[in-house]
Symmetry: C2
Subunit: 585 residues, 2 copies
């Protein structure tokens, strides 16, 4: 079937004179998660992973993906004739090297320019001198006959008691920050939603509508499917001098920017839109001021977040009670279903903030494991269960990981659990001067692991939106410099996860994650973190040999806070259990 689809694509490529065609996993907005409408790469390759790019030439087809997906891609690509290129492995050519080698000197590379960022398109122009980029047509998409339509979830207003600042204020502030630019092109879905205090449901787990925005001095144009807007929302937008245009009309509207100064970020805006701005007076290429404004949570948002975390803590305490007393769900998928259900029972929760990860035993060592009916294994009364989940509440977005001892655990498992805990606590207790970036603090979480010759391959933490994306740029903690965590300064009001881990392939995995709020400390010029998450950490998995005195004190104090906040919302039995679970070490 894949082979037939590729044959179809190759015929169309030949007709259009394309020597190669690129199909990334993307939507038109650079979103992390994409809807079914955009899963063209899966349609033409069979590979369903969340990251990976397909490149097709007349003779060859290759898929580039990272180590998380090597096994899955191998299985899904079997028999398709598509070669798997394992990114990062020694000797494996990069996609760009492949394109350079396979494209004739004056060849043409095709792609849907809406699925490629402007920055990436410009990079390809540079790296492929002499070649032509034909990035204007959705050639592959047009061949997809039963393609799912674009989503049409209704838009709703996030009231100011949740959002804090009004959209009017946010627009006014943005217009001030636009400097000399007359127009600001916004395409990141969470930025548009944040700016207008609206939410939607067009992207899985991210409550955002598909839309583009053009902010001018006096009005804003919002490009969105009008069917998603109720009369009340229409009135609300009109009141903000926001004019609604069809989603597809963004291209033509950009033609109207001729002669103007346009502010945009080539990292975010897609190549097709960027290309239509050739006639504008100047492109000011930098981060949208919204990116930074959104990262700093308003005092109202902060206060709401504290409430959301009580609810989140209650949902998790109920699940932990079940699991620790042996009356809980019996499989990985059942655990995921149960925590999702318990969250939805909380008032103001509209669903998960990402697909729950519930990995038992060796599955916990697979960092991006998602249990399916096929993979799900029964839980036994021993070993470690890793549960990483979060909710979307009107009061904010949560993201929490706990690793739970389902019965006896080995000395090694306890050692790893405790070292991860020490690192998580050390980072959360950091005090640091104004000017500090997440990069500066990363080693605090890793040091206890490093000292035992352990480490983990993922970042230590990421920014988190407010009822928006669970992974929110630009801040986070990282050892690597690939993200911007080495240049973006931590500021009071920012919310970041703190989630070190240890993963032993084929054996077990540990991750413990709390959500931190950056705040002023009581010492001038120094900031600190407030832990927002209120979920007990499994004392049964701790070996005190690996926890220092400060760590013990911190955990005891944390558990006291957890009990005080959560206990009032539990049943008698649950409360009794929680008392035990949070008693001092």
């Amino acid at each position: 079937m894949i082979q037939e689809r590729l044959a179809l694509l190759r015929r169309a490529m030949a007709e259009k004179g394309l020597d190669a065609y690129l199909i990334p996993q993307a939507d038109y907005h650079g979103s992390e998660y994409v809807g079914d409408h955009f899963k063209i790469r899966a349609f033409f390759s069979g590979f369903t992973g969340s990251a990976g790019t397909l490149a097709v030439t007349a003779k060859k087809a290759g898929l580039w993906t990272d180590s998380r997906y090597f096994l899955q891609a191998e299985a899904e690509l079997a028999g398709t004739g598509i070669d798997l290129y394992r990114m990062g492995q020694e000797g494996v050519p990069t996609l760009d090297a492949f394109l350079k080698a396979e494209l004739p000197p004056e060849g043409t590379l095709g792609a849907d320019g809406r699925m490629v960022s402007a920055a990436r398109g410009l990079e390809l122009e540079k790296k492929l001198p002499g070649r032509t980029l034909a990035f204007s047509e959705d050639l592959a998409g047009l061949l997809w006959t039963d393609r799912p339509p674009l989503p049409k979830a209704p838009v709703f207003i996030l009231e100011e008691r949740y959002a804090g600042k009004s959209a009017r204020e946010k627009l006014a502030q943005l217009r001030e920050q636009m400097g000399e630019a007359e127009v600001h092109l916004l395409t990141a879905l969470d930025q548009i939603a944040w700016l207008l205090n609206i939410r939607g449901g067009d992207v899985q787990c991210n409550p955002v509508p598909l839309a583009y925005g053009l902010v001018e001095r006096e009005r804003m144009l919002l490009f969105i499917d009008r069917e998603k807007l109720s009369p009340a929302v229409m009135d609300y937008l009109t009141g903000l001098q926001v004019e609604v245009r069809p989603y597809e009309a963004i291209g033509e509207a950009l033609d109207g920017c001729a002669g103007k100064r346009v502010l945009l970020s080539t990292k975010e805006v897609n190549y097709a839109l960027y290309s239509r701005l050739a006639g504008c007076a100047e492109i000011v290429d930098k981060d949208s001021p919204v990116l930074h404004a959104k990262a700093v949570k308003d005092p109202v948002e902060q206060e709401n977040l504290r409430r959301a975390h009580v609810k989140d803590g209650v949902a998790l305490a109920k699940l932990l009670y079940q699991l620790k007393t042996g009356r809980g769900p019996q499989t990985e998928t059942a655990v995921a279903a149960e925590i999702d259900a318990l969250r939805r029972e909380q008032e103001g929760c509209i669903g998960p903030s990402f697909t729950t990860i519930a990995g038992y035993g060796p599955h916990a060592a697979i960092v991006h494991y998602h249990a399916t009916e096929d993979s799900s294994i029964p839980l036994e009364r021993k070993g470690l269960l890793l549960l990483d989940s979060g909710g979307q509440y009107y009061e904010g977005t949560t993201d929490v990981t706990r690793t739970i001892a389902l019965g006896p655990v080995t000395a090694e498992e306890k050692k790893h659990f405790t070292l991860v805990l020490q690192g998580m606590l050390d980072l959360s207790a950091a005090v640091f001067p104004k000017g500090c970036c997440g990069f500066h603090l990363d080693a605090l979480a890793r040091s206890p692991l490093w000292r035992q010759g352990l480490d983990f391959g993922h970042g230590t933490g990421h920014g988190i939106g407010y009822m928006l994306c669970v992974h929110e740029p630009p801040i986070g903690f990282s050892f690597r410099r690939t993200a911007r965590y080495d240049t973006e300064r931590l500021l009071p009001g920012m919310v970041i996860s703190d989630e070190p881990g240890v993963y032993i392939e084929g054996s077990h995995g540990v991750r413990i994650e709390n959500q931190l709020l950056c705040r002023e400390s009581d010492m001038p010029g120094f900031f600190c973190f407030e832990t927002l998450t209120l979920v007990p950490i499994d004392r049964d998995a701790i070996d005190l040999k690996w926890l220092d005195a400060a760590g013990r004190e911190r955990l005891d104090a944390y558990h006291q806070r957890v009990y005080a906040a959560i206990a009032p919302h539990l049943t008698e039995d649950e409360r009794r259990w929680l008392k035990e679970a949070t008693r001092p070490l």
Copy 2:
């Protein structure tokens, strides 16, 4: 007097058609310390600090320097008509902004191109469009009538029992690393000295000769004053296929590079030399392979360094014994003289590796304080004395700071001392994965201070040469990204200082510095540090309230090592004192 000199300079500028003239503090090699011959800026401004640039126009004269020198510059510039531009202070224009504002649109900026790096010259070209850089003549230098001559210290060979690898091996390795470049221009004095296993005495505290090097495939040209070379050294160089040319002949030699590929670093090579390479086929602008090779100490060098630190520890123990028992020197300058003398008594020590810093009481809060006859204050039997000093030994370069309680110290002084100690010990005990940079680890030293709302403005540590410069790029620990400490990876064999501090203006200062050797840990893929320095840390200044259990253990273990290594080389009385000074906490 300064005004007369400036008038002279302005007349010469007018004759040459120069609208502005720059006089930095530099030699022709980008050295950190410069000899008297190069102190032109002091001659024309009166300002004698080690960092700062003078800019002169027909009407204005300004001096740019950093916060270390604000007070000194203010005093020294008084009455000269030169304006002080305090770098880094808000509202103070940068030198480049000044030049842009003061130079006419088609104006000409003059300077001695040998005193400006190529990178800086190219930057000025970019920042001053339309203007001409006349960087070929030493206009100011020529007006300096009683200018001290270039130094003529004899060159000596550093035997292989000290240097480890032979110069022949080093040259062979360098030629391999030169890749497609046919010529490598070396101008950093320590790189030339390291490569050829020679040393000299042309720069204060840095045992290097003034020289340029041109490494070709079959031979190397060394541009150096032949008077510095004994027949034995000449023979040695001839044996290495090194041909000696006059120091001044480097320029003409570069004309001979026409049509060739030349490897050089624009960060190191001066603008005048760079400009003479216009005719070469290609300039490969990157770090010299020598920079990185030199940073990784050979096993022979490592073993020698351990020996050098025993000697250094003996010299310091003798001084500490005097100071702690009240029979030591009585002023700051006397302390500096005494430690310099005690070091010179050690076999193989040729002098200090930098000007000793001995600051008592409030003077210790001035980070780059050097006591002079005028400033030196008598030591009392109370408070803290900060002593930062080092030696040049055939077995390597040392750099150590101790802060010493001369009698009773306040609770605050003890707190600061202990927090600094905790940070120093935490960093020295770090275990970290391959790939780590100094930047990653910096927070380990600062965290104990940050937690109390304290910090320090200098880097946490710097690379150290082997009988070369005490500040050796490219590695170090820093919070800032101005150095390359965020990209240069720590490798086994590298030697770095670990020197956090606290400075309370007008009151006291604390710094504790050990020298660390990066090594493989016993866990594959992880590195750690061996502490080279062997000098007791003053127990009398410790408040155990601020030192954690791990810190105590580390200090006790360290003191045991110190006693075992140093005691055999002391007198009976000194040994008895050291036993007490290194007893467990």
